[in-house]
Subunit: 117 residues, 2 copies
DNA sequence: TATGTAGATAGATGTCCGTCGATTTGGAAC
DNA sequence: GTTCCAAATCGACGGACATCTATCTACATA
């Protein structure tokens, strides 16, 4: 006949007791997380986040030459940030003559936005 | 008396015509953007994003020892990622004996979430 | 054809990041 | 006290990142 003893923490562990409920992570989430992390990483720079903010607030397309004076960085550096945003699928551009116009791709941020809610 | 001539692009530019509507960026947004970029940067790694996902789905607190086997990284690396999330103000931890329990700070992601919507 | 101009690319540099193995810290058990 | 254990920290290494200057590419003007 068994006695209702208080078990020591070590005995509890040995008996299979856990620190908390077991945690599993569904594989389905992994590539989902990968895509969202890519977007988050692109937004993880103050200048890029402000760029998206400006482009979004000007619902239309904004010329690069209007963006350059907004920040204290060189034109090539801004071009580099715009490329990062383009590579992440957040913005796209359109050329008209000498000028290039950038805009936020509709719903590009929706996946991340939905996850955060 | 002035004639209604078609101006060349260069003449237009010389006359002050712009490629698009002038764009200004309010200073108020800058520190706002800085804080959000910090959060986005912390989420900009697949493992950290999955960590937040797991912690959030387990509304309670999750023990580190349950998190380690979920990812193919060493325990010190996981600890490093948890520190990054803590530094960004996204998660916090609580120690109980040998074990450490992590949880998502309520509303830590709200600012970014609101901006994305 | 030659010149000017907007934007992208190339190359260099210093810093930050993700990862690891080894060690340290602080409780708990014997 | 000594041993065991979970988690954090340390030190190192390779790769990625933000930034710059200099150059290149298209296109438009003359």
């Amino acid at each position: 006949m068994s006695v209702d003893l208080e078990l020591s923490p070590k005995q509890k562990r040995a008996a299979g007791e856990r620190c908390c409920e077991p945690v599993v992570y569904p594989d389905v989430q992994r590539d989902h997380a990968l895509r969202m992390a890519e977007v988050a990483k692109a937004l993880g720079d103050p200048i890029r986040l402000q760029l998206v903010d400006v482009l979004h607030k000007h619902a239309g397309k904004v010329c690069v030459c209007e963006l350059v004076p907004l920040f204290d960085i060189s034109q090539p550096t801004l071009s580099h940030h715009l490329k990062k945003l383009r590579d992440a699928g957040i913005v796209d551009s359109e050329r008209q003559g000498l000028w290039a116009y950038y805009y936020v791709i509709p719903d590009a941020l929706e996946e991340l936005s939905a996850w955060l809610s």
